[in-house]
């Protein structure tokens, strides 16, 4: 069911997120610690912002396994950015493995990733697509439930997205989940969906850990302390810092062994990180339809 991470802060080397840490995302692609099935080998994707060039993200996806893609390993040693998304995929049964189905997805200023499943997606797909404006409908390139959820999010954000902040993105996420739950209810889908979504515009980052049935444990999700990232004595570590040279990671699994550097996101809570790296954790309002 995939693994992902996001980063927001001062510029950092991509390798310090996806290959250098003890439990890096690339390690999670073949030896995930917090999934019953440890393999996430149905492709990968990385996305990053270069604010001096564009306010839109650059995204690189591939259907090869992340652990054996020498181009990824090489690029990661040479790309620095203040905002990254990275994702290793374990495709849901029946979903096509293709570059257009690899996360993160990009549209306008936004990037989007999903770890989870829209249960009964085929049963709600028609009404979902019907709800979209023509403009957003045309942006869908792949076949995944995740990309369709992104389209719903963009549709609910509306046309004027230039001045939206972290709180607006969080509000859009909540509306998206509520809409998906409403369609699932209308379609008579009983199995719970899992919506660990992450969205960024390169300046703010919002993520959510959600499952329809709160008695079921949602997929793991963490965020790091605000800090500096450095190697010391052969280990990658996070050192707390309020200075300009700091950042925050969100990740499906802790990247380092130091548990005190990480907070497990509570079930059905949203984590809102604004451009000043202030972190707010909020309980999702009731989005279940019954």
């Amino acid at each position: 069911m995939c693994r992902f991470l996001g980063y927001l802060g001062s510029e950092i080397l991509l390798a310090d997120l996806i290959s250098n840490p003890a439990n890096s995302l690339i390690r999670q692609s073949y030896k995930s610690k917090e999934r019953s099935e440890p393999l996430n080998g149905d492709g990968f994707g990385v996305g990053w912002y270069s604010p001096a060039i564009s306010n839109k993200a650059c995204v690189f996806t591939s259907i090869t396994q992340a652990w054996s893609n020498r181009n990824l390993l090489n690029l990661a040693q040479h790309i620095r950015s203040p905002c990254f998304f990275a994702h290793v995929r374990s495709a849901s049964p029946g979903m096509v493995v293709s570059e257009s189905n690899c996360h993160p997805f990009r549209q306008g200023r936004f990037m989007w990733m999903h770890n989870g499943t829209i249960e009964g997606f085929s049963s709600i797909k028609r009404r979902l697509r019907h709800s979209l404006t023509d403009e957003i409908y045309q942006t869908i390139e792949g076949t995944t439930d995740s990309e369709h959820a992104f389209a719903v999010f963009l549709n609910l954000l509306g046309r004027h997205t230039e001045k939206l902040g972290a709180v607006d993105l969080a509000s859009g996420l909540v509306k998206t989940i509520r809409q998906l739950e409403e369609w699932a209810y209308e379609a008579g889908i009983k199995k719970p969906s899992v919506y660990n979504f992450a969205v960024t515009d390169g300046e703010s980052l919002v993520t959510v850990r959600y499952v329809s049935n709160p008695q079921i444990e949602p997929i793991s999700l963490y965020f790091s302390n605000r800090g500096k990232y450095r190697y010391r004595e052969g280990k990658f570590e996070i050192v707390e810092s309020d200075s300009v040279q700091s950042g925050i990671i969100i990740a499906s699994e802790r990247l380092t062994d130091d548990r005190t550097s990480w907070t497990r996101v509570a079930p059905n809570h949203v984590v809102i990180i604004n451009s000043g790296l202030d972190v707010v954790v909020q309980l999702l309002p009731n989005v279940r339809v019954s």
């Binding site: 499952v211 079930p267 059905n268 809570h269 954790v281 309980l283």
Partner: protein, 49 residues
């Protein structure tokens, strides 16, 4: 106000709908999800106090 140990949010003890007793002590939560999470791994949260 008290702290929900799972999500670290401040909640009103009187208004908290979700609570349980663990090892002789009452704990309060903002939501069913947080209470279930505490039930799954209480030591993670009790030891963090």
């Amino acid at each position: 106000m008290i702290i929900d140990l799972v999500c670290k949010m401040e909640i009103d003890e009187e208004a908290a709908s979700y609570s349980l007793n663990y090892d002789g002590k009452d704990y309060f939560f903002c939501s069913e999800g947080c209470m279930e999470e505490f039930t799954r791994r209480p030591l993670d949260y009790v030891e963090s106090v």
